[in-house]
Amino acid sequence: MVDVMTPQTPQWWKKPDVKKTAILWVICTAVIGFVGVEFHVRSMVRPASETMSGVISLMRIFTWAAAPVAGLVGAMCITVLTSKRHYGDNPPAEADHEIRNSPRATALWVVVSGILCLFALVTGMIVLQQDNKAVLDTQAIQINVTGQQWVWNFDYANGARSQDLYLPVNKPVVFHITSKDVKHSFWIVQMGIKMDANPGYTTETAVTPDKIGVFDVRCAELCGLLHAYMQTKVHVVSQADYDAWLTAHAATEAGA
């Protein structure tokens, strides 16, 4: 049994197919990384919160981290496919070169995938921890979200209630989410947050919108007949507009 790493005549790294693969590896990595990142970033919605910007840069980083691995597999496949092809109804002669295993290649492969895995974990944990902390912010605006088949209701601290969500820009918000009937999932698309609405429980998620504009809330959990239509808008407005809206609605809603 021969080790792939042990030098043969000539040294293994000087063999033409190895050289070809090495060049292809660089090219494949670059192409995969670039195309992968562009595909994700261009397809994704424009961010309306730092959370969402974070998600987008995570995708960027992960794609570039995965690109060398995918690139190596791709490069080896291309090298293999561009040499020694055999067509016909009978098999080609058996390959004379026999590498039945290679502890060193295996070890290297496992170590590299381990490191990548660790990297993904650490990156994920850091962001996760920030997201978790945001939920505990007592200074934040607190809004109760109630899903029911097939509308969203939003209750504000001063008693106002709406079916379109209103938020001031650059202020942290904590949502307390529940449901009246079956499971729904509260998703503010452009802000990159999502949390299920469970009947009988209250769950939390938090975000700080950083753009003025109108964004989408969609239900992300199949909840029956009109699930596809269970969507509404988020209006992110200036603090002044928000205060005005809130007082106007507190009056009407409280009286109703």
């Binding site: 919605v45 998600v55 995965a66 996760l128 469970n198 009947p199 029956g224």
Partner: protein, 621 residues
């Protein structure tokens, strides 16, 4: 061999065994169902006027379906053996020979036949049927979503189509490799005369047939409007069709457990002399890992549905928070089954391609040990990752980090499988055939499926991606791009052994490219709309998603054409394809040492194994 003597089985005064077949089963099933239905209509008490839950109709439906099940299984002959045991006897030799289906022609495919080769073909047939039905539903979904101005299918019907498509395909992909090839090929590959428990083998197949009927029945009583995951409390609110889903899963779970016990025992106990674990082909490892994963997973699935049935029919509140239960209980039970299940699907398909890789590169499998470590690592870890499907459920936010760790760790053993495949291809002599190209297709598709899996396993990214079309595209890349690709390659590869004829080469190529290109077009489009914010399981969507959905629909039609070409290839090649030589691929596993038609007990003389099956080429050192 005394067992091979020919006895006249059609002696006058046919025994009960000889009278039973699929038609008696259908008849008895229907009669019992109707009788139980009338009886329960007559005798079950009305729901009290003030009752909070109206459960009578669910009771009636479930009881009738149980009636169908008992009637069908009795009618097919599953109870003959157990009854004999009750009377302190067993089946006679003649009866066993009859059950094995010796010299009975095509009729044995319609009976409770115990020969593993017959069961394999039966499985192949039902797998094709399931894919045909499930694929038809997929085309309805894609046609509905392809239209820019939104759907033409009623939302209730649409939801039911989505759910039925999902659960049909899940069952189809679970059985697509271990069913046809695990039953037909596996025993020959290990040099055995049959499975360890031939009657259980027949049982596992006919249970699937029995299960399919309640699912179809459910379509006519409100459908399965909850998606394949059938989350509660939505499922307790759903129409009576849900009871069809429940019965389907319960019966199918039993079938899986029976098959799992049978396959595991066969491999452990019945390998040929000399076939040590080091010499056991990798496909066998894949099959065993798959059913071994299913063994603990499916009882949980069964349980989850039994509780669901209780909630619906008896007014219990296992999943109802108002009554002290919790929908999260259901989610946990479901995904404790659900994640291992995706590897139940994937592992045998990859293992089959690993089996083919040495054959079509004419060199040994690279690092047999690493392949086994990969399979074992995936199997072990996959029991510990289920809550990555529940990151956003709110169940236990503090457990998100640990589940993120276990999920991302799976990429290490998964990487090993890639290493084995590319290592085998490297410096191989490529024999350009459809199974060989399927290995490349799998590497491509599973790379995409695996990497997107890592994005999904990252909790903050999943907060955006969960519940979107991105998830749908991810699991189609793994289940279809990787799993189905392996199954189709297996079909072409083992076709000569199963039918005696070669699969038409041109048709295999045409269908391969249509399916693979269509697939990638379809699901890249789906990734894009997912990233743009389209939720899954919706029957209409915002205009921004038009282009992506149209692309997906075009891809889906391409897949459909490819699959129809494949189906045509199966039928035409089986009827008048080129007669296959004994070992058309010059492979070294045992199934290629037997002649077609394969004798009832496979080998006249049991083989003795002296080396592994990968000794291609000469060792150079």
């Amino acid at each position: 061999m005394t067992t091979l003597t020919h006895k006249s089985v059609a002696a006058p005064g046919k025994s009960i065994i000889e009278k039973l077949n699929v038609f008696t089963a259908l008849a008895l099933g229907i009669i019992t169902a109707v009788v139980v239905w009338r009886l329960s209509l007559a005798f079950l008490p009305q729901d009290a006027d003030g009752a909070t839950m109206f459960t009578r109709e669910d009771k009636i439906t479930l009881l009738s379906m149980c009636g169908w099940f008992v009637g069908f299984m009795t009618g097919i002959g599953a109870l003959v053996g157990p009854f004999r045991w009750l009377m302190g006897k067993d089946l006679s030799h003649d009866e066993n020979m009859f059950l094995a289906g010796q010299d009975m022609g095509p009729k044995r495919y319609l009976r409770y036949t115990t020969d593993h080769k017959v069961v394999g073909i039966q499985y192949l047939f039902i797998t094709i049927l399931i894919f045909f039905l499930g694929g038809g539903l997929a085309m309805l979904i894609r046609t509905n979503l392809g239209h820019a101005t939104g759907g033409w299918i009623h939302p209730q019907a649409y939801n039911s189509i989505v759910g039925t498509h999902g659960i049909l395909m899940i069952v189809g992909t679970i059985i697509m490799v271990t069913g046809p090839f695990g039953n037909f090929i596996m025993p020959i590959m290990i040099g055995a005369r049959d499975m360890a428990f031939p009657r259980l083998n027949a049982l596992s197949f006919w249970l699937i047939v029995a299960a399919a009927v309640p699912l179809m029945w459910g379509q006519f009583i409100g459908g399965i409007s909850t998606g394949w995951s059938a989350y509660n409390p939505l499922a307790s609110q759903a129409p009576l069709g849900m009871d069809g889903y429940i019965m389907y899963i319960c019966i199918f779970a039993v079938s899986t457990m029976v098959a799992g016990a049978n396959i595991t025992t066969t491999v452990v106990k019945m390998r040929a002399k000399g076939m040590t674990w080091n010499r056991t082909p990798i496909f066998i490892y894949g099959t065993v890992a798959s059913v071994a994963l299913a063994l603990p997973a499916f009882p949980v699935f069964f349980l989850s549905q039994v509780l669901s049935a209780f909630d619906r029919a008896l007014g219990t509140t296992f999943y109802n928070t108002a009554g002290g239960g919790s929908g999260w209980l259901y989610e946990n039970l479901f995904w404790i089954m659900g994640h291992p299940e995706v590897y139940v699907i994937l592992i045998p398909a990859i293992a089959a391609l690993m089996e083919m890789a040495p054959v079509f590169t004419r060199r040994p499998l690279f690092s047999f040990n690493v392949a086994i470590m990969g399979i074992a690592g995936i199997s072990g870890l996959s029991a510990l990752v289920w809550a990555h499907h529940m990151y956003m459920s709110g169940w236990a936010p503090l457990l998100n980090a640990p589940f993120m760790i276990t999920t991302e760790l799976i990429s290490i053993p998964t990487g090993m499988l890639f290493l084995v495949l590319v290592g085998t291809l490297w410096r191989g002599r490529l024999w350009m055939t459809m199974p060989l190209m399927s290995i490349f297709a799998l590497l491509w598709n599973f790379m995409i499926g695996g990497i997107t899996g890592i994005y999904l396993s990252d909790v903050p990214a999943d907060a955006f991606l969960h519940g979107s079309m991105y998830v749908t595209a991810h699991f189609h890349y793994t289940l279809m791009g990787a799993g189905l690709t392996g199954a189709l390659a297996s079909l072409v590869y083992w076709f000569p052994k199963m039918t005696g004829r070669m699969f038409d080469k041109t048709l295999s190529w045409v269908s391969f490219w249509l399916v693979q290109i269509g697939f990638n077009v379809a699901f890249v489009g789906m990734f894009a709309v997912g990233l743009a914010g389209q939720p899954r399981r919706v029957e209409s969507y915002a205009p921004t998603f038009n282009t992506g959905n149209l692309i997906t629909t075009i891809g889906a039609y391409t897949i459909m054409i490819g699959m129809l070409v494949l189906l045509y290839g199966v039928i035409s090649s089986a009827r008048n394809g080129v007669k296959a030589p004994k070992n058309p691929w010059q492979a070294k596993t045992l199934e290629w040492t037997v002649d077609y038609p394969i004798p009832l007990e496979n080998f006249d003389v049991l083989p003795i194994v002296t080396a592994d099956a990968y000794g291609y080429g000469k060792a150079k050192s």
